[in-house]
């Protein structure tokens, strides 16, 4: 795999005072790509070990299969009129200048093949309609550029036809996997979640040990016995959170916050070793079977433990999967009709939203007066909020449109005195991706990740210089890990990023309930 190594020195692009469309740099990101999954990883997740001999007919057959299964994909292939509205909306284009990172051009890598093989004009007059054969060079180009898209869907917000670019990327990755050309990072993680129960590979005893340590630490800090229960049958709430919350900094600070919220409100809860992962990388690779199988672990755990409510921790794409797909996949929410789904629907307490985001959970408790804060405890922080792409553009919270933007901000304002917004056009539904989402959060793509963070770093720099912002809160494990890594390249401290429930944890009153 030596050819996949990125040898160029890694540096951050200079922040621009007035962000503008960059001069085109054709080929700037040519050949940038993550490690290809080896035979062992591929076979563990049920894909061919390496590129199969008859990959071309197989890839085209898979493409035909997806076009038949997903009407949306066919519409996205047909509908684009190349108006250019998306062209300057992608963080990877803005930072690299590579025209193939314009969303329209990245999609056209597939659309040109679609025209050649699935449209009459392309079959008869390929040269006239920009149709291309699926050659090995084209396949390699797919592997490279469809791993330079974080499936964040910012471009889709601006598309007058509503073309969902992320679905094109997902379809490309699914086709690549089906011919044995998978990505190491995502597929290794999917193998782990099936085998061990979480993306990290954290076995039950290690999880129990980590949670015990956490209880000791909090006792030492606060004098109070806050519990982090694991596999407790009959608990009211099952919390499903990204495994990074058990392992990494600053993620674990939010886990501490969740526990304090449950403690202060007096609601019984549990984590499950079987569902010790909210994340679902099946979505990143566009594979329905893995998406479903990973989601079903949550149902199994919920049925075993007999819980009444399911709450999802701070994880962006997990909330998209939970909010959009859990209902029909698992019966958490309405829609699924299989016997286990019906059993789960009757078990869950339907007076509450199922599933519920931890921010909705905490916000409801704040409104009821069930938890309260010493806001001054956060006075050393001037806070801003980074909307995570999958929460912002693919889900909702609460009862009204825009709840996914308002509820996390309302929690921050309830537990801290100093909150400011970053520049309009970089937040809410127009938020920029952190640069590491969609299966790109891997060391072999570090240069791409640093580039992808540029627009967010520019708005953060402005907020820091003009408004004194020293803390950027977010509700996604990928955002937290990505910013921790890239902030120093832009001259910020890595401790500047953290979770919303980290702020909750700092200020929540524990003793007087």
């Amino acid at each position: 795999m030596a050819e996949t190594e990125i040898k160029a020195p890694i540096t951050a692009p200079a922040l621009r005072e007035y962000p503008c469309i960059p001069a085109l740099q054709p080929g700037a990101m040519d050949g940038v790509k993550p490690y290809v999954a080896n035979d062992k990883v591929q076979e563990e997740v049920g894909f061919p070990g390496h590129l199969v001999d008859d990959w071309q007919p197989k890839a085209l057959a898979k493409m035909g299969d997806l076009l038949g299964r997903y009407r949306s994909l066919k519409v996205f292939m047909d509908a684009c009129v190349h108006c250019g509205a998306c062209s300057d909306k992608c963080q990877y284009f803005l930072a690299s200048g590579d025209p193939k990172n314009m969303p329209v051009a990245r999609q056209d890598l597939m659309r040109s093949v679609y025209r050649r093989h699935f449209t009459l004009a392309g079959k008869l007059f390929p040269g006239l309609v920009g149709a291309r054969e699926l050659t090995k060079e084209v396949l390699d180009e797919w592997y490279s550029y469809y791993h330079q898209c974080s499936e964040c869907r910012r471009c889709s917000v601006f598309c007058p036809y509503g073309i969902d670019t992320a679905e094109v990327t997902m379809a490309a990755r699914e086709i690549l996997d089906s011919v044995g050309y998978g990505q190491k990072y995502s597929n290794e993680i999917i193998a782990k979640v099936h085998k061990i129960g979480n993306n990290l590979g954290l076995p039950g005893p290690a999880l129990a040990n980590t949670l015990e340590g956490l209880e000791e630490d909090i006792k030492e800090d606060t004098g109070i016995d806050v519990r982090y229960p694991l596999d407790v049958k009959g608990a009211e709430v099952l919390l499903v959170t990204p495994s990074a919350d058990f392992f990494a900094e600053p993620h674990i600070e939010s886990l501490i916050g969740y526990g304090k919220v449950f403690h202060a409100a007096g609601i019984s809860w549990t984590l499950a070793s079987k569902a010790s992962e909210a994340g679902n990388f099946g979505m990143f690779i566009g594979n329905y079977e893995h998406l479903r199988k990973i989601a079903l672990r949550v149902r199994e755990a919920a049925l075993e433990l007999g819980v009444k409510r399911i709450v999802v921790g701070e994880c962006g794409h997990a909330w998209r999967v939970a909010y959009q797909f859990w209902n029909t996949l698992t019966g958490i929410g309405a829609g699924a009709k299989d016997p286990f789904a019906i059993q789960l629907q009757s078990q869950l307490d339907q007076r509450y939203r199922q599933p519920m985001h931890i921010c909705e959970f905490t916000w409801d408790l704040i409104r009821q007066g069930a938890i309260s804060f010493d806001k001054a405890a956060n006075d050393h922080r001037v806070i801003t909020f980074h909307d995570s792409c999958n929460v912002a553009r693919a889900s909702r919270m609460g009862d009204s449109p825009g709840g996914q933007f308002e509820i996390p901000r309302a929690i921050i304002r309830a537990c801290a005195n100093h909150y400011v917004e970053m520049a309009p056009g970089t937040t809410h539904e127009q938020t920029f991706c952190c640069g590491g989402g969609g299966g790109l959060l891997t060391d072999d793509l570090l240069d791409l990740r640093i580039k992808g963070a540029l627009p967010r770093m520019e708005s953060l720099r402005q907020a820091a210089d003009e408004r004194g912002v020293n803390f950027m809160a977010t509700i996604c494990a990928i955002c937290k890990a990505q910013f921790t890594k890239v902030l120093p390249y832009y001259g910020f401290k890595m401790s500047m990023v953290g979770g919303v429930h980290q702020l909750v944890s700092t200020a929540i009153k524990l003793g007087d309930k």
Binding site: Y185, A206, G279
Partner: protein
């Protein structure tokens, strides 16, 4: 996949330079891997490496960063029991870089 040569023995590594077989690890291997990472191993580095390996033997996973900082704080003094100190020792990050040198698999996921 790659290979590294330690004392005349060829050891298999993955694409990112992590040892494939954990039993291949020796102190000389650690010295070699550290050199590749531009890390000069001091006794304090060894405290971290040894703790990681002990924890891994018991739990089949590297410890959470918080568990590691607490353990190092107990061994080397409270001023060193924080992730900032661990980043001084292992600039690319205590989880990944220290695991690599200790011959353990890379922590995966959103970390």
């Amino acid at each position: 996949m790659g290979n590294i040569d330690i004392n005349g023995k060829s050891l298999e590594t993955d694409e990112e330079g992590y040892l494939v077989n954990l039993s291949d690890w020796t102190e000389d291997t650690a010295q070699f891997l550290a050199q590749q990472e531009n890390v000069e191993l001091s006794p304090n580095h060894w405290e971290v490496i040894n703790f990681l390996r002990e924890y891994y033997t018991e739990f089949q996973i590297a410890p959470a960063v918080r568990v590691l900082t607490k353990a190092i704080g107990k061994k080397l003094g409270p001023d060193k029991g924080n992730s900032q100190y661990l980043y001084e020792l292992f600039p690319y990050g205590p989880a990944k870089q220290a695991c690599k040198i200790a011959g353990l698999p890379k922590p995966t996921g959103c970390v």
